[in-house]
Subunit: 112 residues, 3 copies
């Protein structure tokens, strides 16, 4: 199964929920997970910058092949730069375009 | 058509919206509904325990074959026990895994 | 690609986010967009009535073939009438039914 999580909230509780949701999916032995992506736009950006509370968990998820994808439109309108993003975060031309593309490739969509 | 509703909010208005959304779907004569599931994780749990404001509607939806599925991870971290859940609620090993599985089986996803 | 956006919030920031998300999708040259719909229920209705802050952008999106679809149940329970809706907004018998139908036709789902 392929799954894309969509994160667009600047709420600290939601940042935590998103990464915990991904970890829960990977820990679920009843599910055969082939690919996982997290697409971030809007307020979700705070999850993926240097000051995030979740760097360790994100890095351990990346080691398990979870892809983190940041919307370029959001980044351009923010006070952050590409260099503020955690290592390995991919910039996509739009979060919504990436969400559409991944679903067209068979990814299930989850909004935590 | 097969539809899965995802409920993860502890907001009382959202509890009401979810069950009303399901009822609206079943009442829509332009849609041929084959299967409906409600997958609950996070704060959504309050909808499915004994003290819920929506017991009657949930029971009537269950009689119409709507399946209510509670995330086991959420339950384990909560102050509630399995015995606090309404009759007929199924526990799934993870809400996110169930959401992925149902979408892979052709369910449409709706986050109320 | 075909995409349906689901809007159900009465938050003014969310009204803006929804229409900006649609505009961002259309502006994304890496995505081949075949059809876009915006399905509105619950508090989202405020986006589609005469007093909306986003009339101009909505009209320009309609000119680019974005379809705006308003849930009839929501409208019936509101203080607005069909005649309060912006020109070109289609009324659907239920927002949730329309979301299910469009996904069964291959639309990707995005909740902004």
């Amino acid at each position: 199964m392929k799954v894309v999580f969509h994160h667009s909230s600047d709420d600290a509780e939601m940042h935590a929920r998103v990464v915990n949701n991904v970890a829960n999916l990977l820990a679920d032995e009843t599910v055969d997970v082939e690919a996982v992506a997290v697409v971030v736009n809007g307020g979700g950006l705070g999850l993926l910058v240097g000051g995030t509370d979740h760097r360790e968990l994100i890095e351990s998820l990346q080691e398990r092949n979870v892809l983190f994808k940041q919307c370029e439109n959001t980044l351009a309108r923010s006070d952050w730069e590409e260099t503020d993003l955690l290592d390995g975060v991919e910039i996509v031309s739009s979060g919504v375009g990436e969400l559409a593309r991944l679903q067209s490739e068979g990814y299930a969509y989850i909004k935590p």
